[in-house]
Symmetry: C2
Subunit: 98 residues, 2 copies
């Protein structure tokens, strides 16, 4: 199996954008420090809708993606992110074609 | 201005997946050979819908994104891609937050 991509789309409540960015960037720093199998974990903001954020992710394997979701820091960030989101994240799981 | 991300979602007509991949990978090789300002141009296929492809793209500047769209090989690939797509591509333009 090859590289796995994830495009996660998150709509944030109006006025909560800065709080979302703060919580997410703390999570991002922990992912980059602890997950060599995470090849990409980029936070992006929509140009057309400032409340919509998109995370572009890639993992070297399904095991690396599973480890990402099971980490203590990921589980800890979830309630803080959930508190500022407007609805559930949209998750698209992908196989990269090399 | 910082890095620009693009998530392009393309639904391909049933039975045309291999043709789409062939045309896209030829375009991808030309992008990688000619566009130093294109930082990422990854073709991915949805795990949940085998007719849905997602291209994860990043450009170092708006100028690099503009140059991408104006290249002769991009313009040449467009009719061939359009012939196998099921509807217009979905394009999300993003600012990467570093």
């Amino acid at each position: 199996m090859g590289v796995i991509g994830v495009v996660a789309t998150m709509k944030v409540q109006a006025g909560k954008e800065a709080e979302f960015e703060k919580v997410f960037k703390d999570l991002q720093s922990k992912v980059k420090a602890n997950e060599p199998g995470c090849l990409q974990y980029d936070l992006c903001k929509s140009k057309s809708n400032p409340q919509t954020f998109v995370i572009m992710e890639q993992y070297e394997s399904q095991e690396a993606l599973d480890a990402h979701g099971k980490s203590d820091y990921f589980k800890a960030a979830f309630p803080a992110l959930g508190a500022v989101l407007d609805g559930a994240p949209g998750l698209e799981f992908l196989d990269r074609i090399d």
